[in-house]
């Protein structure tokens, strides 16, 4: 599997070259959000608003009203926590095309509780007019720009930075409201998003080797959450469903799946893995994923709980799984 160094940096510059209405609004985290070179390339389209996020939301709204397409770049927590009223009233209510590029989703930062966006999907899902996306690899970091650009309204994007794995071929860009089918099996259904997908891509083949066959869906659109591929997979799960999210289990992917299951009378067990209604703290991503049960091993143990038996899989078995970039198995008509 390829690991890509800062895919956003050059891609966003290329992408914006023929889109003069695209502007960047930044909040003193310009290089941290990988738009320092963008600023130097397009200085007339870059606006530093400083550490003042409430005002930033209003400025972005005003620019959008005048026909510009603002891409707000800052950490997720400074988008949905600090200036939520401004986000809701100045941007979401009027359904303005502001793109909120939310960096450091979940426990991807050692910055600790103040920097870890652990309930953002819940809050953004509950915000009318908001489209909620999450990137899981370099291909999605690159292609989410087109997806967001085509949405008539505000878009919140959980964004990955730094060294990002390429799990999906560049020939298969992100598509709005379409999950990727990464593995098929009838025993259980596993749904992941963002950084938990790579974990599941380690766990699911190992489970198959141990005789437990999972359908694995990678979700990149949290809202709207009406993908027929997801519904079909949920219906097919023999033992039940497991969600694994880099987020509190309240209000995020697990809750969205629960809503779909309940509304469609899919009476099967659902196990929601993620932060169990708790804040985290400052430490490495690998440590936090282990400590809070967001990694491949946690998923294996969850599946075992669901099927009611042990698979005998150990941490070493999972470490040996080699991840290749995968084409979605979803049938063409489902896409």
């Amino acid at each position: 599997m390829e690991r890509v160094q800062r895919p956003h940096v050059e891609n966003f510059i290329r992408w914006a070259a023929d889109k003069p209405k695209v502007v960047v609004v930044s909040a003193d985290l310009t290089n941290s959000c990988e738009v320092g070179k963008w600023r130097d390339t397009y200085p007339d389209r870059f606006f530093s608003l400083g550490m003042a996020e409430q005002n930033l939301m209003g400025f972005a709204a005003g620019l959008a009203r005048e026909g510009f397409e603002p891409f707000v770049h800052t950490f997720a927590v400074f988008i949905y926590r600090r200036p939520y009223d401004q986000l809701a009233m100045s941007i979401a209510y009027p359904n303005l095309p502001v793109r909120l590029m939310a960096f450091l989703p979940g426990i991807t930062t050692p910055g600790g509780v103040t920097h870890q966006a652990i309930e953002d999907v819940a809050i953004m899902r509950a915000t009318p007019n908001m489209t909620v996306l999450e990137t899981g690899d370099a291909t999605e970091v690159e292609s989410v720009l087109d997806v967001a650009h085509r949405v008539d309204g505000p878009v919140y994007v959980r964004f990955l930075r730094g060294v990002v794995p390429r799990l999906f071929p560049q020939s298969e860009p992100m598509a709005l409201g379409r999950a990727r089918v990464l593995h098929e099996g009838d025993d259980v259904v596993v749904l992941t998003a963002g950084i938990t997908t790579e974990e599941a891509m380690r766990a699911v083949p190992a489970l198959a080797d141990a005789g437990v066959h999972a359908t694995h869906l990678h979700v990149s659109t949290h809202k709207p959450f009406d993908d027929p591929t997801v519904l079909a997979a949920l219906r097919r799960a023999r033992h039940g469903v497991v969600t694994l999210e880099n987020h509190t289990i309240v209000g995020g992917l697990g809750s969205a799946v629960a809503e779909v299951m309940a509304e469609n009378a899919i009476g099967k067990p659902l196990l929601r893995l993620g932060l169990r209604d708790t804040y985290a703290h400052g430490a490495s991503q690998a440590y936090l994923m282990r400590a809070y049960g967001l990694d491949a091993l946690a998923l294996v143990r969850g599946v075992e709980q669901l099927i009611g038996r042990s698979t005998g899989l150990t941490e070493d078995d999972l470490a040996q799984v080699r991840i290749e970039s995968v084409h979605s198995l979803a049938k063409a008509e489902a896409l």
Partner: protein
């Protein structure tokens, strides 16, 4: 009817009187309401629509449409209350109305300037109406949703920045109340307006010293707004908020790179001195007794002007 942007001072003083009278009338017929806001800001609205704002003709129906549903990608029927302030064009000004609790005063001003039918006030605060008590951007004359106070100035800043990028000559006028300056967002906005030298933004603030809980100096004093704004680098003019000429004069100043703040000192009981008896509880007039109501009715009957 005064012609916008050219009206004579005497005519506008009469307009201000009629704005107060219409609001007073409405408050009496509805058993209470936002009267002190009209008392303090009637001349501000008269000066804005009659002298300051450069607006085209209203693009909206004289009789407001019913509430068409909240804005969304699936709702093509949503209408902008900003259409009452004329078309968006490079040379025209924008009017951004911030203290949404003044909605009744704004509606009344639109009536006075022929942009809204007189009987539109019958829809005020009625179920299913766009003529809402506090309102949002579907309400007549309202371009941005600002009932959560202090958000207008930031939105105006973004609009002004966008207009400058497009090379438009029109200005962005924001009507604010002094209580909003308690919100930190206002100061975030002022520093950004100054940083980006957005001298196409002009704010006119009703400095009446009042807020919901009472006198600002008791609730949370803001000190000298003029000194604070000047320290931020803004251009500040303090005027008598009941003097049409004084209110209109700062708009003639040549832009100098600084956002303009016109601080209009006003009396929240202007025209209805009876209200001083209830000071500092002026935010929303509720009658404590039939006796009080009768005294206000007598004050209204003696108010003067056409029925």
């Amino acid at each position: 009817m005064p012609t916008p942007a050219t009206a004579a001072t005497a005519d506008l003083a009469a307009v201000a009187h009629r704005i107060r009278r219409r609001v007073f009338d409405h408050v009496m017929r509805n058993g209470g309401g936002y009267l002190s806001q009209a008392c303090s800001s009637a001349e501000i609205f008269a000066a804005l629509y009659g002298r300051i704002l450069h607006l085209g003709p209203s693009q909206a129906p004289m009789r407001p449409v019913p509430f068409p549903g909240a804005p969304s990608a699936a709702n093509p029927d949503y209408v902008s209350g900003g259409a009452y302030n004329g078309p968006h064009a490079p040379e025209y000004d924008r009017f951004i109305f911030s203290p949404a609790h003044y909605a009744l005063v704004l509606y009344t001003a639109l009536i006075e300037f022929g942009r809204l039918a007189e009987d539109a006030l019958e829809q005020f605060n009625r179920d299913g109406s766009t003529v809402e008590m506090i309102g949002a951007e579907h309400s007549p004359g309202v371009e941005t949703t600002t009932g959560s106070l202090a958000q207008a100035i930031s939105q105006a800043g973004g609009i002004a920045l966008g207009r400058r990028l497009k090379g438009e000559s029109g200005r962005v006028w924001v009507m604010m109340s002094d209580g909003e300056f308690q919100e930190g967002q206002v100061w975030e906005a002022v520093q950004a307006l100054v940083h980006y030298r957005l001298d196409n933004v002009a704010v006119i603030a009703d400095v009446n010293g009042q807020q919901c809980d009472g006198a600002m100096d008791d609730v949370m004093s803001v000190g000298s707004l003029a000194a604070k704004l000047q320290a931020f680098g803004a251009r500040v003019v303090e005027v008598d908020g009941h003097d049409i000429e004084a209110l209109a004069a700062p708009a003639e100043l040549a832009p100098d790179g600084r956002p303009l703040f016109v601080l209009a000192r006003t009396d929240p009981a202007r025209g209805v001195p009876l209200m001083n008896e209830r000071a500092p509880n002026l935010h929303y007039l509720r009658f404590a007794s039939n006796e009080e109501r009768a005294r206000y009715q007598a004050a209204f009957d003696a108010f003067g002007g056409e029925a």
